[in-house]
Symmetry: C2
């Protein structure tokens, strides 16, 4: 988890849910590109944070949060990100699913001190 | 990942994103309740599937999919689930965040056979 429980604005805001399974080809290149895209993505306008976890088989579940649909579209069309997406389809991914969702309400809980 | 890439309907549908950190109290009871709620929840009307991953520290990122907001509300108010939520806050969770989101569009990719 990269930014656990990082503060987010009041809804509505947006979540991009990414489920992915690597192909197993070029794992070092895939990891390096993941780090680069993580850093570059976090610097984009409207980025609100990210949760990410891996299964033992390398499958990945990531949720990235954004202020609005325009921020998501701008990042999708960023030239360096477009090239990473192309390489991902050519080389690194066996499969992925991306779901763009509008967060409508939230519930938070923090246990009181013992 | 419980139902990787399980088919889902065309958007719109709903995603409930749950980020949670266990307190460390009663891990066996927590795990047993998690299994029970997973089975009971999957049997509810409007349930579309689930993705779930754990970090090494026990933190959990789960996304559960539903047909519509009514299905989510009905499950939130299910008597056995209400009791599980109460026990969770009293005993099992240090922290959690629940985000209810409307999935507006999706992209799928499957690599062609080598």
């Amino acid at each position: 988890m990269i930014t656990p429980y990082r503060d987010r604005p009041e809804p509505p805001y947006y979540a991009v849910i990414i489920t992915s399974t690597p192909s197993g080809t070029d794992p070092e290149g895939y990891a390096a590109m993941g780090r680069r895209m993580g850093e570059l993505g976090a610097a984009q306008p409207g980025y609100l944070g990210r949760e990410s976890m891996y299964a033992p088989d390398g499958s990945d579940l990531t949720v990235i949060y954004y202020r609005d649909p325009e921020s998501i579209r701008a990042w999708q069309q960023h030239p360096e990100h477009l090239e990473a997406q192309r390489l991902g389809r050519d080389r690194w991914y066996a499969r992925y699913r991306v779901e763009v969702a509008r967060v409508e309400r939230t519930y938070d809980f923090t246990a009181p001190p013992m």
